[in-house]
């Protein structure tokens, strides 16, 4: 291949790559510019440093490859014998230092902006759990609403028995909903181990650490669904706790918020009602497939957790079953769901476990049973 042909080949490959840069979807090569002002500022900073590195790299590698090509023993090149030059050495100490100052200036101003979470209109407390996120909208009147956001990708897709959907592993049962053009502050903490909340397109990443409350903020200018993941190793299912943010108009947000409040009230009302086996079973199934399935298996066969099918605890005394479900098992991955699920949900999922997978006990557990268990 002639030199000219090589240059042409490299140029066309570069062009092909560059066209991919703008496409930014499948086989994305570069950081997304993001939708927020902050995200786009970070992107510009990233590109600035990248290009500076590319230029320095071209110079250094250019000199090196010139030597490799022309200063060869096999071509009879006679070696020089110089081994120092104070002037040159001072130059290549001072010049890089000046370039670094050039980088530090924009980096500092962007960093200060990242840290400025003042004057937020909405505060959302984000708590990392193994392996899900809890979102709590803090309300001045104490009417907080909160919910858990679980991975909604079915096990059948993860274990390759069903075709994977386009949002594979980046989808949740309940996303965080925020209004556009509003400064939202996230207060991050964790319940067990350290997690990290990352939203690439908003330019936000912050660790959620037990015992600490970290701050991050965003103003999303554009309605849409944004997807990210936990980025701090947090145990076996670290790869299975995505973050999904829905940015909606203020009107939609208000509507969503009041629906959430109404839903919370309905849950309270339901707690004092007697539910039918069918209702409990269908509710229980959906909770099982969100909360339990990863560890206990789609057919209750077990995995990380113990089997549910034929389990002595599930088939035996209800008190013990409720105890394990609400308080967890210390030292294992079994969590205390008493603080994560409502009494109705616990009643439903316990009923479901006692009647599914061939565990035909016929037991019906009502929300009131859970309440009285909790009250001792």
């Amino acid at each position: 291949m002639s030199f000219k042909k090589i240059v042409q080949a490299v140029a066309s490959a570069t062009l092909a790559l560059a066209s991919n840069f703008t496409a930014a979807q499948e086989n994305q090569l570069n950081m997304a510019r993001g939708v927020t002002e902050l995200g786009s500022e970070i992107y510009d900073l990233h590109m600035l440093i990248l290009w500076i590195c590319v230029v320095i790299g071209l110079v250094v590698f250019g000199v090196m490859f010139y030597s490799i090509i022309f200063h060869r023993k096999s071509k009879g090149y006679k070696p020089a014998n110089f081994h120092e030059s104070t002037k040159v050495e001072i130059a290549w100490t001072v010049v890089p230092f000046l370039i670094l100052i050039g980088m530090a200036v924009p980096a500092t101003s962007t960093l200060l902006e990242v840290y400025n979470s003042d004057d937020a209109e909405i505060d959302i407390l984000v708590t990392g759990y193994q392996w899900k996120w809890k979102y709590e909208y803090l309300d001045e009147d104490g009417e907080n609403i909160s919910f858990f956001s679980n991975l909604s990708t079915p096990q059948s897709e993860i274990y390759n028995t069903q075709e994977k959907n386009p949002n594979y592993l980046l989808e949740v049962d309940e996303p965080v909903v925020i209004p556009v053009n509003t400064k939202v502050r996230f207060l991050l903490t964790a319940n067990d181990v350290i997690h990290s909340w990352w939203m690439p397109e908003l330019g936000v990443k912050k660790d959620a650490i037990p015992g600490f409350i970290n701050e991050a903020w965003t103003i999303v200018p554009q309605e849409g669904v944004y997807r990210g993941q936990c980025t701090e190793l947090c145990g076996a299912y670290h790869g299975f706790m995505p973050v999904v943010v829905h940015a909606v108009s203020q009107a939609e947000y208000d509507e969503w918020l009041s629906a959430k409040r109404a839903d919370a009230e309905a849950q309270v009302a339901m707690a004092s009602m007697d539910l039918s086996l069918d209702d409990l079973m269908s509710k229980g199934e959906s909770i099982y497939s969100g909360q339990c399935v990863a560890c206990h298996g789609a057919n209750g066969e077990g995995g990380v957790g113990k089997p549910i099918a034929g389990s002595a605890i599930v088939l035996g005394d209800l008190t013990k079953h409720l105890g394990v479900t609400t308080k967890g098992v210390p030292g294992t991955a079994m969590q205390a769901f008493g603080s994560q699920l409502s009494d109705v949900d616990i009643a439903a999922v316990v009923t479901y476990q006692r009647n599914a997978f061939g565990n035909n006990t016929g037991d019906i557990v009502q929300p009131s049973d859970v309440v009285s268990y909790k009250n001792g």
């Binding site: 994305q28 090196m64 990443k205 670290h238």
Partner: protein, 526 residues
């Protein structure tokens, strides 16, 4: 040679009881190669699982055990002991000393390693599995939430730490006390210099690591709460302690690699190393800076902005001495009479790829940009460019460079070159695409990933398999050389090589420099 000189003992006792720096060096090198294969096998399992989206081969928990053990075995079992082995072999021969200063301790510091790693590897067969919290073992995932095998992990780390500390004390004592008359500090080969500085780093930070794991032990078994917020402790404290060890550790790995290429590039450029003195000062500057930059691994933990700025500026500064080194190597090649034997190929591979890793390191130092890079595959790509293409390539170059001196046999040059090209191509196919998926949003340490990362992950796995397979060629070439390589008897195997090690017979006799060599006072460093 004096009358008292004697050859090695016979049989197994030669290796168990030896105090000979060459024997111990050889054991370190073979041990580290075995660990390299073991750690590589773990990596192959990781890449096989990541070949396609979805869970295929292993469960997520086991995947985490693999990433953890891969990191621990490669860092503590493969790279560090390999350079200690090289130091054992070469430092006495480079400074004109008959052996290491503390030969019995030398034996002990090697023989602690195999049981240490046996203990670590045995955790794979324990109930609850091996450690699964990453080689950085952040609390409380590694304390309250760890499998019971964590206790064995802690004692394994203690064993490796003791071995490293003793090894470095030995190197410091040797370099300070055993130099031949006339071998002044500024005449020492750069490999000796970089190891001397590395040894000081090790003595300073390994005890810090020991402290961290001891605090974990206390938290797990004796009811303390150093790292548990619920008991008044602080999980972030763990990270500060870990990285106070961990960042110098990175330079502990790379500085001896700098030393190696600083020996090899001049030899095959047939020209003295450019800027010897500035190389020494740059190494010292990097070592100093390594102590004040640790929190750049922790930009997202929520440090105050002033702390964030300090660590960002300090980290950026490292680019200056590192740049000096790269410029010096390139200028050493400039107007040399270059030839491209296998050691030189691996050194040039080092120079190109390490520089790329240096650039991504500079990008990572920019705190606001790091918010996007942190804990993604971009970081994985970065540190494999410096650890594999940096440390491992230079170690490979060192083996090819000194193997004829060690064995008196020449390796197969064509096979060496093929090994280089397969390694180089395989490495880049494996790790270059990881920059892309990292920037596009793929977190590290996940066993399964979203569909848009599928193509590059498959590419990465294929590259990793190629790179892994090329090491079999390396093993074959080395063994074939030892068993039946062409005999070399020239003292100076390479025409451009400089230094005392090339003045002794080939193969290097069991005892060298029992009488100190004469150092020409007018002759510059080697």
């Amino acid at each position: 040679m004096g009358d008292h000189s004697h050859g090695p003992a016979k049989g197994l006792s030669r290796w168990l009881f030896t105090t000979n720096h060459k024997d111990i060096g050889t054991m370190y090198l073979w041990f580290s190669f075995a660990m390299f294969i073991l750690g590589g096998a773990f990596a192959m399992i990781i890449r096989a699982e990541l070949f396609q989206p979805g869970m295929q081969l292993v469960e997520p928990g086991f995947f985490n055990q693999m990433t953890t053990l891969h990191g621990l075995v490669m860092v503590f079992g493969a790279i560090m002991p390999s350079f200690v082995g090289l130091a054992n072999w070469m430092i006495p021969m480079m400074i004109g000393a008959p052996d290491m200063a503390l030969p019995r301790m030398n034996n002990w510091s090697f023989w602690i390693l195999p049981p240490g790693f046996l203990m670590l590897a045995s955790t794979l067969f324990m109930e609850g599995g091996a450690p699964a919290f990453g080689w950085t073992f952040y609390a409380p995932l590694s304390t309250t939430y760890a499998a019971p095998s964590v206790t064995f992990f802690i004692f394994a780390i203690h064993a490796l730490g003791i071995s490293s500390i003793m090894g470095s004390i030995n190197i410091i004592a040797t370099v300070m006390n055993m130099r031949a008359p006339g071998m002044t500090y500024m005449k020492m080969p750069l490999f000796v210099w970089t190891w001397l500085i590395t040894a000081f780093l090790l003595v300073a930070v390994m005890p810090v690591l020991a402290g961290a794991v001891t605090m974990m032990l206390m938290d797990i078994h004796f009811g303390t709460s150093f790292f548990s917020a619920a008991g008044g402790g602080d999980p972030v404290l763990f990270q500060h302690i870990f990285w106070f060890f961990g960042h110098p550790e990175v330079y502990i790995i790379i500085l001896p690699a700098f030393g190696v290429v600083s020996q090899i590039i001049p030899a095959f450029s047939r020209k003295p190393l450019f800027g010897y003195a500035s190389m020494v000062y740059a190494t010292a500057a990097i070592a100093f800076l390594s102590f004040i930059v640790w929190a750049h691994h922790m930009y997202t933990v929520g440090m105050p902005v002033a702390g964030e700025l300090f660590f960002m500026y300090a980290t950026m500064l490292i680019a200056v001495p590192t740049g000096v080194k790269v410029f010096n190597w390139v200028t050493t090649m400039w107007q040399g009479a270059l030839s491209f034997e296998t050691p030189m190929l691996f050194s040039i591979g080092f120079l190109v790829l390490f520089t790329i890793g240096g650039f991504t390191g500079l990008m990572l130092s920019i705190a606001p940009a790091d918010f996007q890079y942190h804990d993604t595959y971009f970081v994985v790509a970065h540190f494999h460019y410096v650890m594999v293409a940096g440390a491992v390539f230079s170690m490979t170059a060192a083996v090819y460079y000194w193997l004829p001196k060690w064995t008196g046999k020449m390796y197969n040059e064509s096979m060496g070159k093929i090994h280089f090209w397969i390694s180089f191509v395989g490495f880049n196919i494996a790790f270059f695409p990881q920059h892309f998926v990292g920037l596009a949003g793929m977190p590290r340490r996940i066993p399964d990933y979203a569909l848009q990362f599928a193509d590059f992950n498959m590419m990465s796995s294929i590259g990793a398999f190629i790179y892994g397979a090329s090491q079999i060629l390396f093993l074959y070439n080395v063994v074939a050389t030892i068993v039946g390589g062409k005999t070399v008897s020239d003292e100076k195997v390479w025409d451009g090589a400089e230094g005392l090690e090339w003045t002794v017979a080939t193969p290097a006799p069991y005892h060298t420099f029992e009488v100190p060599p004469k150092i020409d006072p007018a002759h510059a460093h080697s």
